[in-house]
């Protein structure tokens, strides 16, 4: 680990106070730069970490999308020969694993990291360095998983057991490549990242709200993200147990899934789905939260039924724990178990329905602006409804026996995952882009992006309902003519390429808009006339977020600072955003210092992973990284004593908790590295 010295610390752009501090060279020197690519490796700023999450997730999104396209080329016509059975099985597995664990989850994490502190008026998350650690562990785990596609030959060592990896099919006998080892270890690594992040963000939400920001004044998005973190907190350990058993079974010949020795093959399914179903809500609740921010803004009305929105989110979070066996209706569970899970599954539709109707009610009577973020948000409402309704048809366990493991299910969950989640995340991208980067994405390209994606997704996933009812099973690498599958498979493939065009448009839009932005006036703090605190600060926000802690007096604080009521109860504007917003030019705020150690610790984990697969000696190397990193971490105060240190008025400063915090961080990470 090369330690580079950059003596100047710049808190904000054009910071005149930036002090030059003499620092000794050595292992314990803090990194200080806040600019340049190196600063991204050591940053502990929640906003930059959010951007890193988003960027990494977008790259994985492209990768997972290419995998989807490869599958659709293979399946466009009967008896396709584009992929062999071996390759196809790896490709569909990696598509699922990538999209769930490396795209949807980190994209939600991007929003959570970036927006939670801003929406609750905090200066950063509770544990900035742990936050950095989460990201680097996630990235390491993700790259570790993806590397399985290249190491030991092109597509010969990737997991080939499906993202659900049912046992004993994922055992050494039936899956002799190293792929499932990558799966078991890689997902444990990303799980550690999610767990640390969940702890961090829960503490942030509970402990670091600005004055007056009671729990029930938090924006719906923050609420949904908080529920998500709770789901992660409790769901991740369950899959970790499963992966742990799987890893031991594969690497050390443990008997957990050896049916001949008396093992229960359904144990894995239970552990997987006890995690797997809350996981669905882990993915979808952030998107619901985003929609709940976008729709009120572009309807120019407050969210309809705030408390119903919040409580239905909490209810979904709770009920999500009681429905997992609906993935196992055909697995031979007793009819009473099936009946109980069937009922709980049907009724989870109720809180979801409440959300849909409340969004519609928010729009009703509003002044609707259908720009790109709004279009995506409205698309979530109707597309997710399709996914939810088809979900009701297989909540009926008997009917599900005709649908399970067919393309009908593939259609159902893609309407949820693409229609609900990806559309929601794109709404979020377009909505918060000006806040994060200081320029709006181009509206024309945005609408092109939207229509390509919405038409593409309906072409792709709509006909899958028909294919499924016609009896086409999932995870088929090929199909024969004569089963009535030809026409719709071709349509599906065309749809998939349409989606790809949409995503391409988005990427083009990013670069195009950035170039154009130089010619346009700055977007200002509040380009959409929004409602929550993040719009009260400049775009992009200053490093320290808020110049002064904001006193919150109610829901939608920012909006209420701009608007009031006249004597007739009519809404009138009495201040512009610019008048209300903070300037962000304060330069004396004490910020947590960057740190090398998160990335050092995180680097160790994939090395240990490779070691477990290939040579235990590598584990020692990886272990050294982890131990060195933790040692350095423990020695390092949470805040650099040499950094500019004048004022302590910001909320969320670790202050004299620093020592305790670092000790805790040490203990928790040490443990997790053992778990992993």
């Amino acid at each position: 680990m090369a330690i580079t010295e950059e003596a100047t610390k710049e808190l904000t752009k054009g910071d005149a106070v930036a002090a030059t501090v003499e620092q000794p060279l050595g292992i314990l020197t803090r990194p200080t730069s806040t600019k340049g690519w190196k600063s991204w490796l050591t940053t502990v700023d929640h906003k930059r970490i959010g951007i890193l999450y988003g960027g990494a997730a977008l790259l994985f999104f492209v990768l997972g999308g290419l995998e989807a396209l490869a599958m659709r080329i293979q399946l466009a016509t009967p008896n396709g020969t584009f992929l062999s059975a071996e390759t196809y099985n790896q490709v569909f597995t990696m598509h699922g694993v990538t999209m769930i664990f490396l795209v949807a989850m980190p994209m939600a994490a991007a929003f959570a990291n970036y927006l939670i502190p801003l929406q609750i008026g905090a200066r950063d998350v509770a544990f900035p360095r742990l936050n950095a650690l989460s990201f680097w562990i996630f990235l390491g785990g993700g790259l570790f998983l993806v590397s399985s596609q290249f190491i030991g030959g092109w597509w010969s060592n990737a997991p080939d057991c499906g993202w659900f990896c049912y046992q004993p099919n994922g055992g050494v006998i039936f899956s002799p490549s190293r792929g499932v080892d990558y799966y078991a270890i890689g997902l444990q690594i990303t799980g550690i990242a999610s767990l640390i992040s969940a702890v961090n963000l829960i503490v942030t939400c509970l402990n670091m709200r600005t004055r007056g920001m009671s729990m029930f004044r938090m924006p719906v998005l923050t609420w949904m993200l908080l529920v998500t973190q709770f789901l992660l907190l409790f769901a991740i350990p369950v899959i970790t147990v499963g992966l742990f058993l799987l890893m031991f079974a594969r690497l050390f010949d443990a008997q957990f899934f050896n049916v001949a020795a008396g093992a229960e093959p359904l144990l894995w399914q239970h552990l997987f789905w006890i995690f797997g179903h809350p996981e669905v809500y882990i993915l979808v609740l952030p998107a619901f939260g985003i929609v709940s921010e976008v729709i009120p803004t572009f309807s120019r009305k407050p969210i309809f039924g705030y408390s119903f929105m919040v409580f239905s989110g909490i209810a979904i979070g709770f009920m999500g724990w009681g429905v997992w066996a609906h993935h196992m209706f055909a697995s031979g569970l007793g009819p009473i178990s099936v009946a109980a899970f069937s009922l709980s599954t049907m009724f989870i539709a109720v809180p979801t329905g409440v959300k849909i109707l409340n969004w519609l009610a928010t729009m009703w009577g509003g002044k609707l602006t259908f720009n790109t973020p709004m279009l995506f948000a409205v698309a979530v409402v109707s597309m997710f409804t399709i996914g939810g309704l088809s979900g009701v048809t297989h909540a009926m366990a008997a009917v599900d026996t005709q649908q399970t493991d067919t393309y009908y299910i593939v259609a159902h969950f893609h309407y949820v995952v693409f229609g609900g989640i990806i559309n929601g995340l794109f709404a979020g991208f377009y909505f918060w882009w000006p806040k994060v980067f200081g320029y709006k994405l181009n509206e024309k390209l945005g609408k092109t992006n939207f229509w390509l994606m919405i038409i593409g997704m309906n072409l792709t996933f709509g006909p899958m309902h028909i294919l499924g009812l016609q009896g086409m099973s999932r995870r088929y690498y090929t199909y024969s003519g004569g089963y009535g599958f030809e026409l719709w498979n071709m349509v599906v493939s065309i749809g998939a390429f349409t989606i790809a065009l949409g995503v391409l448009t988005f990427i083009i839009n990013i670069f195009y808009s950035k170039r154009k932005a130089a010619e346009l006036p700055p977007v200002g703090p509040d380009p959409w006339d929004s409602r929550s605190l993040e719009w009260m600060i400049s775009s992009p926000p200053p490093d320290h977020n808020f110049d002064e802690p904001i006193d919150v007096h109610g829901l939608d604080e920012f909006w209420h600072r701009k608007y009031g009521y006249d004597d007739d109860g009519k809404v009138i504007a009495f201040a512009t955003a610019a008048e209300v917003a903070q300037t962000g030019d304060r330069t004396d705020v004490h910020l947590p210092s960057p740190s090398y150690w998160p990335i050092v610790v995180a680097t160790g984990l994939p090395i240990i992973g490779y070691g477990l697969i290939y040579s235990l000696w590598l584990c020692v190397v990886g272990g050294l990284f982890v131990v060195t990193g933790l040692f350095g971490w423990a020695q390092e105060p949470a805040d650099d004593p040499n950094a500019v240190h004048d004022d302590h008025d910001e909320p969320g400063d670790d202050g004299d908790d620093a020592q305790g915090a670092s000790a805790l961080e040490q203990s928790s990470t040490e443990e997790m590295s053992v778990d992993g």
Partner: protein, 406 residues
């Protein structure tokens, strides 16, 4: 017609196309029930589907209405809408109404669930018949027990009265009890025209049942991902008249008997350790000898190699029982046909299969999953095929015809 009702009409048309799209010529179609259980599932699905369509039309329609009614048409209009923050009674209302709708749907759903899972007192003329369905990489085995099968005591190594593969024979209009299990990984047994899916889980014997109203050939498949050739693990259910079923049972319960005396004598001599070996002279005899020497390591044919066979050299421990091979119109996981639609035998595909099975159907023969390439010469292949074609009574013509999917 304004754009709103136009869209609604388009949506209704879409929904009809959707259901019609399913009804095309698709042998695995779940909306084309041919037996009472599949029918009862269909009877529940279709009305709920329409309820769902109505709900979607309402939600989507509302969105369209709002686009039409509430979108900002004049950007200079600065007036803000009334900030309605909620209405508790409305919200309670739309919490309760969906719950009620779901409650109404739940009643028939629960009833049907217990109904299709109920395997006691099935209506058939074979009082103690149980069929054990064994999923295996990548084909289905069917084991008939005419004196009943007790999953708590027995396992699938208990000798069955009939062991066959790929085609499940049943008498039409009779309720047949199944026990579904697996020898290796999890599979899932689906014959959509006759009933829903039940997973084949190793170590579990999941009770299930099927019934076909009319004689016919019904197609099935493996639903649960089970490795390399999951896509090529199919099956068929041949529902025949009861009299034909009884004949079939009579034939299948017999060991292999050669169609001519000379071949029988050759086999008898080969099977008798004390007898003097006879040199094979015909293709069938050479094929029989080859079958005994090569195929015995995995395949059992009663009356041919039961003296040599001691379990398959596969991770799952079994390969298809070939005693009455040519009485089945399909092979290799029911993906290839043995007869043309006109009823004549077509051995080209069988030859190709024996020539190099992994090329015909992905397998992992190195790790003893699936049939390996045995490296036979063309002459040897012809001999084995000639012998295999002597192994059974040909199936009925309608089965041969319907086996061919075009």
């Amino acid at each position: 017609m304004n754009s709103r009702s136009g869209r609604l009409a388009a949506l209704a048309v879409l929904a009809v196309v959707f259901l019609a799209g399913c009804a095309s010529d698709a042998p695995l179609d779940s909306l084309d029930p041919k037996g009472e259980y599949a029918q009862s599932i269909d009877n529940l699905f279709v009305p709920v589907f329409w309820v769902a369509v109505v709900v979607f039309v309402l939600v989507f329609g509302a969105t369209i209405v709002m686009w039409w009614k509430f979108r900002v048409k004049d950007p200079s209009d600065d007036e803000l809408p009334a900030p309605v923050a909620g209405n508790t009674s409305v919200e309670i209302g739309w919490t309760i109404v969906p719950a009620l709708i779901l409650g109404i749907i739940a009643v028939p759903s629960m009833a049907l669930l217990f109904d299709i899972r109920d395997t006691t007192d099935l209506d058939n003329d074979y009082e103690n018949l149980d069929v054990v369905v064994v999923g295996q990489q990548w084909w289905w085995e069917y084991r008939y027990y005419f004196d009943g099968f007790d999953p708590d005591v027995d396992d699938f190594d208990t000798p069955a009265d009939i062991v066959t593969a790929n085609q499940l024979y049943i008498p039409a209009d009779q309720e047949i009890p199944l026990y579904i299990t697996s020898r290796d990984v999890i599979h899932s047994f689906a014959v959509p025209n006759l009933n829903g899916t039940m997973d084949a889980v190793p170590s579990l014997y999941s009770p299930w049942k099927i019934q076909a109203d009319e004689p016919g050939l019904y197609f099935g498949t493996c639903r649960e991902f089970c490795g390399l050739s999951h896509a090529l693990m199919r099956t068929q259910v041949a529902a025949v008249e009861q009299a034909d079923f009884d004949i079939w049972v009579g034939q299948q319960r017999q060991p292999y008997t050669a169609p001519d005396e000379q071949l029988q004598a050759f086999l008898d001599a080969a099977r008798d350790p004390d007898a003097e070996a006879i040199e094979p002279t015909t293709a069938e005899e050479r094929g029989a000898a080859l079958f005994r020497s090569l195929c015995s390591s995995c395949h059992l044919a009663e009356g041919v190699n039961d003296d040599l066979y001691d379990g398959a050299e596969l991770v799952s421990g079994a390969a298809p029982n070939l005693t009455h091979f040519s009485s089945r119109s399909s092979f290799a996981g029911a993906i290839f046909e043995l007869y043309k639609a006109d009823g004549s035998a077509d051995t080209n595909q069988l030859e190709a299969w024996i020539r190099n099975p992994p090329a015909e159907k992905p397998a992992d023969a190195e790790n003893k999953r699936g049939m390996p390439d045995l490296g036979l010469s063309e002459a040897q292949i012809d001999d084995v095929v000639a012998f295999l074609m002597t192994t059974g009574e040909e199936p009925s013509d309608f089965i041969k015809q319907e086996t061919v999917v075009e």
